[in-house]
């Protein structure tokens, strides 16, 4: 092997490091994480499974709609709610792998010794996880288009799904990264995240015939997923305006702010080689 000993003459990293740290360290991490997510096939498999599920549900709802068991607005609402819930689920799964997965694969230490701050690393990982939500939403568009033809709610449904879904995805994606930072293993992190999502998703699946008193209302409004889906439903099915039931969005908004804030504040203590050790 012939060694070329001349050092590179491609500029001085030192001059640019400050720029990277302040302006685009998170962007470089986000770009690479997103590329890894999609080129490794992990993102594509999740997206494929998502599209199969959505296809099945869309088929069933359109059949019911044709048999007059379901109103067209309700069909759109059903598919959009499912897209938001499952889109958020896959976002949560991807973010739950963010830190614990790197620890297990032995790739985290190399990242920690670069001048990019821990917060930038976390921000990059959250953005990469959110690409999963955006991709699932893109897949949802044609399904909603098929179901919403003729009732003039296509634009409203898509805008609603995108805004509400993004809000919930930011909040739960942040929670996924928080869980990933404190979990000892990747399996634990992903299992805990899915368990959390199922708990949050369960109230939305209760039969509508059950008595729904003030306790149910509190439970609904305290749950970021249930309240977000209720907001979508109130607009698409009941025809309320954007501002009419905004109180439903308080919990998703608070979740995004609190979880995102916790991520920013606790970031440097989360991104470390071993959870539970003061590694700075």
């Amino acid at each position: 092997m012939t060694l070329q000993v001349a050092p590179p003459d491609v500029g001085t990293p030192q001059d640019s490091c400050v720029t990277t740290e302040r302006r685009s360290g998170w962007l470089v991490v986000a770009e690479q994480e997103s590329r890894d997510l999609w080129t490794s096939g992990r993102g594509l498999i999740l997206l494929f499974l998502f599209s199969i599920l959505l296809s099945a549900v869309t088929y069933l709802t359109s059949t019911n709609q044709a048999l007059n068991f379901l109103e067209q607005r309700e069909s759109v609402n059903l598919v959009l709610q499912l897209a938001v819930a499952v889109g958020v689920l896959v976002t949560l799964v991807v973010s739950a792998d963010g830190i614990s997965g790197e620890r297990e694969r032995g790739t985290l230490e190399s990242l920690l010794i670069t001048p990019v701050s821990r917060r930038s690393i976390i921000a990059g990982k959250l953005i990469a996880a959110l690409t999963m939500w955006f991709a699932t939403f893109l897949v949802t568009v044609p399904y909603v288009w098929v179901l919403a033809r003729g009732v003039g709610i296509l634009g409203e449904a898509l805008a609603l799904g995108f805004c509400v879904g993004t809000l919930v995805a930011v909040g739960l994606g942040s929670i996924g990264l928080l869980i990933s930072g404190v979990c000892n293993s990747n399996k634990t992190s992903i299992a805990a995240s899915i368990f959390l999502l199922l708990i949050l998703f369960a109230p939305t699946q209760l039969p509508s015939g059950l008595p729904q008193g003030w306790f149910f209302e509190v439970l609904l409004r305290a749950n970021p997923i249930a309240s977000a889906l209720a907001y979508i439903s109130s607009m698409l099915v009941e025809g309320h305006s954007w501002s009419q039931d905004l109180s439903y969005l308080i919990t998703p908004l608070l979740t995004a702010i609190i979880a995102g804030g916790a991520l920013v504040l606790a970031g440097p203590r989360l991104v470390r080689l071993t959870p539970g050790v003061n590694a700075g």
Partner: protein, 336 residues
């Protein structure tokens, strides 16, 4: 610091002269368990420092402390003049190959290095040319476009070393870079290490279990045992400090063996035995207190007396004066 090839060192170095690594009483506790205790040593520009010790001695923890991955419980250190209180500055001027470093299987070697170059602030274009250059440096130019999952272990280690050089570092930390490599792979990696220290004028801190190679490559050695520095210094100093009992084998023409024995009889502390299976070989050892430096003096004097008496020395081999001997003596508890 003026030995930069690209001006990076000059910019990166803090207020310092040639001292690039200075660890002072570094201590790291995990709960009640001590991983590293009062570790102190220094290294200068161009030094290759061998960080030795049995498994669990604290080598990896020491490297993680010096590269700011871990925060010391107590003690201080500086890298290239930057104190431990400035971790960002330290990260800019160190390159690290962590122990059992993982690699993203789906990335190519080129993509991997470009990513890290961009994390250090290089533009896409500069990152691309730097990656190509570093891959050539470690002999992976022809595999730049191959996924890392197709690399052999040796190739991955060389890729890891290339990544450690992305920021043209002042200090390079290599944690067991030869682990699991065949002899040819080990030789390649050691060759690269020599090159880093010599041509890039970087300090290399090398953690390894290859004692003969360390003896050959390293200018300084730090032996850790139970998280503490058992001994530190040049290879010669470490061997001398270890006070290893020395012996020697002296071969002379068979008809001059008796004459040689008579000459050596003039050294009261020297035991001389004739080997039954090799009658032309005399085994020399120094009595009790005559170990370490004193032992060497007796051996030197004996050899001088033999040559002064006109007895041809066909072979003379000093035994025990090796780094491996010092290592085993200093870490004998672990070996036992």
């Amino acid at each position: 610091m003026t030995l930069s090839h690209s001006g990076v060192y000059k910019d990166q170095a803090g207020p310092m002269t040639s001292m690039t690594v200075e660890a002072m009483r570094l201590t790291k506790h995990y709960g009640g368990r001590s991983a590293v205790e009062d570790v102190s040593f220094t290294a200068s520009q161009g030094d290759i420092v061998g960080l030795l010790g049995p498994n669990g001695a604290g080598k990896t923890t020491t490297i993680r402390l010096l590269t700011t991955v871990l925060v010391p419980t107590s003690g201080e250190f500086s890298i290239a003049g930057h104190p431990s209180t400035s971790p960002n500055e330290i990260r800019r001027c160190v390159g690290v190959l962590p122990e059992s470093s993982g690699y993203p299987a789906y990335q190519t070697g080129g993509e991997y290095l470009r990513f890290f170059a961009r994390l250090y602030g290089l533009s896409r274009r500069n990152a691309r040319s730097l990656a190509a250059e570093l891959l050539a440096t470690v002999g992976l130019a022809d595999r730049a476009g191959s996924p890392i999952s197709t690399y052999s272990r040796g190739m991955r280690q060389r890729l890891g070393i290339a990544r450690a050089l992305v920021n043209d570092p002042i200090v390079v930390f290599l944690d067991e870079p030869t682990l699991g490599l065949d002899p040819a792979g080990q030789a390649q990696v050691l060759d690269i290490i020599r090159t880093i220290a010599k041509s890039r004028a970087a300090t290399v801190v090398l953690s390894t279990h290859l004692l003969p190679e360390v003896e050959d490559v390293c200018s300084k050695v730090v032996i850790l045992h139970h998280g503490r520095v058992a001994v530190a210094g040049s290879v010669g100093e470490v061997i001398s400090t270890a006070l290893i009992e020395q012996s020697a084998e002296l071969r002379v023409p068979l008809d001059m063996v008796e004459r040689a024995r008579n000459v050596l009889a003039g050294f009261p502390n020297l035991n001389v035995d004739q080997l039954a299976e090799q009658p032309d070989v005399l085994s020399l050892s120094v009595d009790g207190a005559g170990t370490g430096a004193g032992s060497s003096e007796v051996m030197n004097a004996a050899l001088a007396a033999i040559t002064a008496a006109g007895i041809p020395v066909l072979h003379f081999e000093l035994e025990g004066a090796r780094l491996s001997g010092a290592f085993f003596k200093m870490t004998s508890e672990a070996v036992a």
